[in-house]
């Protein structure tokens, strides 16, 4: 059997495994634990220098409610959704269609266009910060959700198209040829045959893009300013200013901000099923 089950290994390896694993796990989770603990500490603890010790009393309810009552975090979360969801949908539609075209059709500039999509991923986006900001001001898109959405879609589509193109390329071509001989038009082939088969890829990209856009801090700070547009990543920093670094609130807000991507992952989980093309060909 590969890999060899740990129960069958020598006792030295077994003991080492049992000792090292919890330690590694603890170290790895330490920052998260730190934030979780901080978010339930009363402010007095932090003022008194009790950063890492046991909280003097449980202030979780209080902290988490004040995040919402005493700051604009509620708006920021809404703003994040307003940017992230349309970006995910827009990116997936564009990249699935582009990937289908690049994978299935043999037109002359096919490879060149494909390489353009690939090459786009190598441009460091920091270089583009100033031009993109200027452009968005010129276009009247600065500090609007739609502006953020459009630039996010533009930046995400490159990688997603590469991913979708390769995934579709790996599907059995005979499925498409067979449908073509049957007289099914290309849109219907896309909708009824390709789309159901690329569902795992779409689910994976949805989680990836969602997490990436939700966690984006760079464009959020560059492209937005007002309370009605700022996503949560940029919004959290507001807590610093208002209460001279209220760490317990920043920690609570961070935990709240981290929840939607996790929820997204569990929602999409059942679509990551492998072996979807089973039975299509010989098998």
């Amino acid at each position: 059997m590969f890999p060899t089950p740990i129960e069958n290994s020598s006792s030295l390896i077994r003991i080492g495994y049992k000792v090292i694993l919890p330690i590694a796990l603890f170290l790895w989770l330490l920052p998260l634990l730190g934030i979780a603990f901080t978010s339930i500490r009363p402010a007095a603890d932090l003022d008194a220098g009790n950063y890492f010790g046991w909280p003097s009393n449980f202030a979780g309810v209080e902290n988490y409610t004040s995040v919402f009552t005493r700051s604009n975090i509620g708006y920021y979360i809404l703003n994040s959704f307003k940017v992230t969801i349309p970006t995910v949908i827009g990116t997936l539609i564009l990249s699935t269609l582009a990937g289908y075209a690049l994978a299935i059709y043999n037109f002359r500039s096919n490879l060149i266009i494909f390489f353009l999509f690939v090459a786009g991923n190598f441009v460091p986006f920091q270089i583009l910060a100033i031009p993109v900001r200027d452009l968005s001001i010129d276009m009247g898109l600065y500090d609007t959700s739609i502006g953020l959405i459009m630039f996010h879609i533009a930046f995400q589509t490159g990688f997603c198209t590469l991913f979708m193109r390769n995934f579709i390329k790996a599907l059995p071509v005979v499925l498409i040829e067979s449908a073509r001989v049957e007289g099914v038009n290309d849109w219907k082939i896309f909708y009824y045959i390709v789309l159901p088969l690329v569902r795992p890829a779409i689910a994976a990209l949805a989680v990836l893009v969602f997490t990436f856009i939700w966690n984006d801090f760079f464009w959020a700070t560059i492209m937005s300013q007002s309370v009605s547009v700022r996503p949560i990543t940029a919004g959290i920093s507001e807590l610093k200013g208002q209460w001279k670094a209220a760490w317990e609130l920043i920690a609570a807000a961070s935990i709240i901000a981290a929840l939607p991507p996790v929820a997204m992952f569990f929602m999409m989980q059942k679509h990551f099923i492998a072996g979807l093309t089973l039975g299509a060909t010989k098998g």
Binding site: S178, E182, V184, K188, G279, K282
Partner: protein
């Protein structure tokens, strides 16, 4: 039901010419088999007829209409692929009716055609299953069902049975033959298996490196091959061949000197002297103490009704002799082989036939 005509059809991938000028006429309602070794261009030719490959030069006509640049869907053909190509996300019923539903056929016709096809192919109990829940033979039947409901003029099969196990292959072979008799459509069937070709075809087209070697009925090709290639390709076990020397025997007869000293005399050879290749099928050699070829049995394959004796006569390959199943000879036994002179084929060293050993009338 449609006639298929190919006129000087050619296909190149880049600069690599794969189909090198094919002229062929397949009569309406025929069961035509393209057979040839792997890589000779059978699939490519079939895909060109289907419209899945662009035709580099030449004309393809189906049912009297020039379809060389017509879309696959508009050619009136249905294709069954080697790998079945079932849509994994759809049930059997959905798979079979997919094309009909997508081309806006009425619900009543779709249902009717589905139930007819399911009945013919014995799929009625499997209609709600997904392809993953079917056996290989059942999957192939679904693929055929999908072709049947389109009621095409021409069925195209690309090695449909090569993924099935031997027993199932024999069963499906008869089933496809029955289907041909029932539907009365033209069928073009690609295979590299000469047994499939022999058993199913009305017309066999032997392809070799992008060219037609010979066209004919199964027995014509078997008994009257016009080249060494066809002679060796058709028939299992393969025809035995020997490098021989011809000399004039008088009275328009030819003396054929066998490799180890003996000779036989044949008539009707186009050439009377020089080097040649002698071809004899295993059933035209018998064990006979007065035989011309002496040798030693190196292997006896007992098939039951008959036994294939492999006899080493000092050539690079042993001679295969088809003997009765009760034959007692086994490995190590000495024997002499008698060659039936009438059934001997002679081929020039370039490969074309110079004497046919046909026993057909």
């Amino acid at each position: 039901m449609a006639k298929v005509e190919l006129q000087d059809v050619r296909k190149s991938f880049g600069t690599h010419e794969v189909i090198k000028g094919i002229d062929l006429e397949i009569p309406d309602g025929a069961f035509c088999v393209f057979v040839g070794p792997s890589g000779c261009g059978k699939s490519t030719l079939l895909r060109m007829i289907a419209g899945l490959e662009h035709t580099t030069a030449g004309t393809i006509m189906i049912g009297g209409k020039d379809v060389t640049i017509v879309q696959p869907a508009k050619r009136g053909v249905a294709m069954v692929f080697q790998s079945y190509a079932l849509y994994p996300n759809m049930t059997v019923a959905e798979n079979i009716t997919f094309g009909l539903r997508m081309t806006n056929q009425s619900k009543a016709t779709t249902e009717k055609k589905l139930s007819d096809a399911a009945l013919i192919l014995k799929l009625d109990r499997l209609l709600d299953r997904k392809p993953a829940q079917l056996s290989g033979g059942q999957r192939q039947r679904v693929a055929i069902g999908r072709a049947i409901v389109r009621e095409p003029g021409v069925f195209l099969f690309d090695e449909p049975l090569s993924n099935l196990d031997a027993a199932l292959r024999v069963e499906m072979r008869t089933e496809i033959s029955r289907l041909h008799a029932e539907l009365d459509s033209t069928m073009i069937y690609v295979t590299h298996d000469q047994i499939e070709a022999m058993t199913m075809a009305d017309v066999i087209v032997v392809l070799n490196a992008g060219r037609i070697e010979q066209v004919g009925s199964p027995l014509e090709l078997y008994h009257n091959p016009n080249s060494l290639f066809v002679a060796q390709f058709m028939g299992s076990p393969k025809m035995n061949t020997f490098a021989v020397e011809l000399s004039d025997y008088g009275h328009r007869k030819t003396k054929v000197d066998l490799p180890n000293g003996g000779f036989i005399v044949v008539d009707g050879s186009e050439r009377l002297s020089g080097p040649a290749v002698l071809g004899v099928r295993p059933e035209h050699i018998t064990i006979d103490t007065k035989g011309e070829l002496k040798g030693e049995v190196v292997l006896s394959e007992r098939l039951g009704p008959e036994t294939m004796l492999h006899v080493d006569v000092g050539e690079t390959e042993p001679v295969i002799v088809k003997e009765d199943g009760l034959n007692k000879l086994s490995r190590g036994d000495q024997c002499a082989l008698k060659i039936e002179a009438d059934a001997c084929h002679l081929f020039a060293s370039e490969g074309q036939t110079i004497r046919s050993g046909s026993l057909l009338d």
